[in-house]
Amino acid sequence: MQVRLNGELREVPEGVTVAGLLGHLGVKAQRVAVEVNDAVVTKDRYESQRIGSGDSIEIVAFVGGG
């Protein structure tokens, strides 16, 4: 299924969870925060929350800033 991931259209496995998506992308869950359709997904919901077709997902991390 297709989703919008960090602004770009990407194919991801059908019915994948947030945890599954991070694993699929090779991203360490402790280092990032995830938003699905403008709402933050807290870490305790990574295993249960499923991504739907057409969802808009943001995966962010800390970078240097002032």
Partner: protein, 257 residues
């Protein structure tokens, strides 16, 4: 007694807060952070580059024990800033946020209407909000009224190094609000940091002045000294300025008189 200061439920000794942007490399940043003596460091929240997930993370280079202060830099609307603050909280697992709502790309001056609106929402969500704002006492009061834990007026535009352009407004802000006033942005060198502290700021926040100095580590040390000197001068109470001289040596008992 130690000269400490507090924001919300946090108490600090160092009155210098520093950013983590614009350094030539992570090792230099790490040495500068240590040299600054800072207890609070700002960080930005950005999309993860999914093509570089194996690379070293900023967090590995921030010395242990330093408190992270996520910012909402480059957010141009209250909604963007609120979303970014929520993501920052999820990353940091804390409630501090340096709230920025920017109104103009060239000057990076705050959009104070959006800033107050975003602050009100985030305070209700339990955030300890530190807003980056103009040197405007009325806005500072509005930010205090909606529950901000501190107010952080600019000395000059972000990264400009122009120093403290309006010391009188900063003084008025300090008279107007009861929450801590931190000077954020515009500092160029150690005397600027000292001046901010002499005026009565509880702390100074800076990034570019250290990160883009020729020797960031030495400048971090200088800024630490400037902040400490300014704080002590503020506590000591400076003499009033006078137009004419006041002799330091006796004017009587001179030979040949």
């Amino acid at each position: 007694m130690a000269d400490t200061w507090s924001i919300g439920r946090y108490t600090f000794t160092s009155r210098l807060l520093v950013g983590t942007g614009k350094y030539p490399d992570f090792p230099t940043m790490q040495r500068a952070l240590v040299a600054s003596g800072a207890e609070v460091v700002t960080v930005a929240v950005r999309r993860l580059d999914l093509s570089k997930t194996g690379e070293a993370s900023l967090l590995e280079w921030i010395p242990k024990g330093m408190k992270l202060l996520p910012n909402t830099a480059a957010c141009f609307t209250a909604d963007e800033a609120i979303r970014t603050a929520r993501l920052g909280r999820e990353l940091e697992m804390g409630d501090l946020v340096k709230l920025e709502v920017i109104g103009d790309r060239r000057t990076l001056f705050p959009d104070v209407v959006g800033l107050v609106a975003a602050a009100e929402v985030l305070v209700k969500e339990g955030f300890t909000v530190l807003p980056y704002t103009n040197d405007d006492p009325v806005t500072a009061k509005r930010l205090e009224d909606v529950g901000c834990a501190a107010v952080m007026p600019l000395g000059a535009p972000i990264g400009s190094g122009l120093g403290i352009r309006n010391p009188y407004n900063l003084r008025i802000i300090m008279e107007t609000v009861k929450i801590p006033v931190l000077v954020d942005a515009g500092v160029g060198t150690a005397s600027d940091a000292a001046l901010a502290m002499e005026l009565g700021a509880v702390a100074v926040l800076m990034n570019t002045a250290i990160a883009e100095a020729k020797d960031p580590v030495l400048m971090a040390e200088a800024m630490r000294g400037g902040v400490e000197a300014g704080r002590k001068a503020h506590l000591a109470g400076r003499i009033p300025m006078k137009l004419h001289a006041s002799a330091s040596s006796p004017m009587t008992g001179l030979i040949g008189s």
